[in-house]
């Protein structure tokens, strides 16, 4: 597993004992989460691949909303801000969202192993999805311009709800 090329080490710097420790560290102590590949594969299984990615703004905190806690998450990309509030309604969720700048943008919520839920934001940029299933969730926003013409598509990373 150690792909150490001896030609890179003419002076014998390498220490095989430490290298084996290091291999253990990378492969056993700090591997990616077991379901990360699956979640990425879900996140990129999109109709349109020409998407912009909105980033999760954590406001300086390293802790996000994980493990089903309700809360508000803010995503941004370029000049677009997407705020979403998740409220648990038992096994499902209510999503209240707000897009800035406002517009009658189409909002699609994808949940792994479920049908997508789609709604349209009002002219103030607000939208509500009262009943969304729980699971690996991704929000896709199809933006419209001031004349109502379809523009770019923005997606979020997946959120675990």
């Amino acid at each position: 597993m150690n792909d150490i090329d001896p030609r890179d080490d003419p002076r014998g710097f390498e220490d095989t004992a430490v290298l084996s420790e290091l291999t253990r560290l990378v492969y056993e102590l700090d591997p990616p989460p077991a379901d990360l590949v699956e979640r990425v594969q879900f996140a990129i299984a999109l109709e349109d691949l020409d998407v912009e990615v909105a980033r999760w703004e954590r406001a300086g905190s390293l802790t996000g909303v994980r493990g089903g806690q309700p809360g508000t998450i803010t995503f941004t990309v370029d000049n677009l801000t997407l705020m979403v509030n998740f409220t648990s309604t038992g096994a499902r969720h209510r999503i209240d969202g707000w897009l800035v700048p406002a517009g009658e943008h189409t909002v699609e919520v994808r949940v792994a192993e479920h049908e997508s839920t789609t709604t349209r934001a009002d002219d103030g940029g607000r939208f509500v999805l009262p009943d969304v299933p729980t699971g690996t969730t991704q929000i896709v926003v199809h933006l419209v311009n001031a004349r109502g013409e379809r523009g770019r598509t923005v997606v979020t990373p997946t959120i675990m709800l």
């Binding site: 597993m1 150690n2 792909d3 150490i4 090329d5 030609r7 890179d8 080490d9 003419p10 002076r11 710097f13 390498e14 220490d15 004992a17 430490v18 290298l19 420790e21 290091l22 291999t23 253990r24 560290l25 990378v26 492969y27 102590l29 700090d30 591997p31 990616p32 989460p33 990360l36 590949v37 979640r39 990425v40 594969q41 996140a43 990129i44 299984a45 999109l46 109709e47 349109d48 691949l49 020409d50 998407v51 912009e52 990615v53 980033r55 999760w56 954590r58 300086g60 390293l62 802790t63 996000g64 994980r66 997606v155 990373p157 997946t158």
Partner: protein, 201 residues
């Protein structure tokens, strides 16, 4: 987007390894082959993960960065003019994204390679990973005391295959001739820290 199914039992990357395999996947993915994308994600996500973690991101943030990088890759897949350069592209994109998600105080000053060289990382330890025994804890502490530069280089050179690790090192902007000595110094420092933590074995 139309999907080109690999109706035959032999996808173009079959039997290939390393850079050749990934380049074949990139070319197939450009024509809409979703299986090719899934292969790339499955095989290269650990690399992207360790770049992000080696850059001092906690596990939650690293997960987001991994997803963001792959989503960004979708947009760039047609513009990646050399499919064989995929690993380098991923490393560079992940480092850039990791710096963007750095905490606001540090984001303002920017984290240059020079700063990274001298910054002893206090993050990056597996706050939620199971450390099974004292030896694991000693190893984590010793590794965590290395500069971020060393952490990143050591993670990647252990992880990447022989054919790709030079690409990785080049993406880290380390001159080819000094990869070995640089890594050697990092390992020596790791050994010193391990000894200080009470021995490595």
């Amino acid at each position: 987007m139309g999907e080109l199914r690999t109706t035959g039992d032999h996808p173009p990357w079959e039997g290939l390894a390393g850079t050749d395999r990934h380049a074949a996947c990139v070319i197939a993915a450009r024509t809409g082959n979703r299986s090719a994308l899934d292969v790339l994600v499955a095989e290269l996500t650990p690399l992207v993960w360790h770049v992000a973690r080696g850059h001092g991101l906690d596990r939650s943030t690293a997960e987001d960065v991994v997803q963001t990088v792959w989503l960004a890759f979708l947009r760039h897949i047609d513009r990646l003019h050399e499919p064989r350069a995929l690993v380098g592209w991923l490393v560079v994109a992940t480092r850039r994204e990791a710096r963007r998600t750095w905490t606001p105080a540090k984001r303002e000053t920017g984290l240059t390679d020079e700063v990274a060289d001298h910054l002893e990382s206090t993050q990056g330890l597996p706050e939620d990973a199971a450390l099974v025994d004292d030896r694991d804890i000693r190893l984590w502490r010793a590794f965590g005391r290395l500069s971020q530069r060393c952490q990143e280089l050591l993670r990647l050179t252990v992880l990447a295959g022989r054919a790709e690790y030079r690409t990785v090192a080049e993406a880290l902007a380390i001159p080819r001739g000094s990869i070995g000595p640089t890594r050697g110094r990092c390992l020596t420092t790791l050994r010193t820290h391990l000894d200080a933590e009470g021995g490595s074995r």
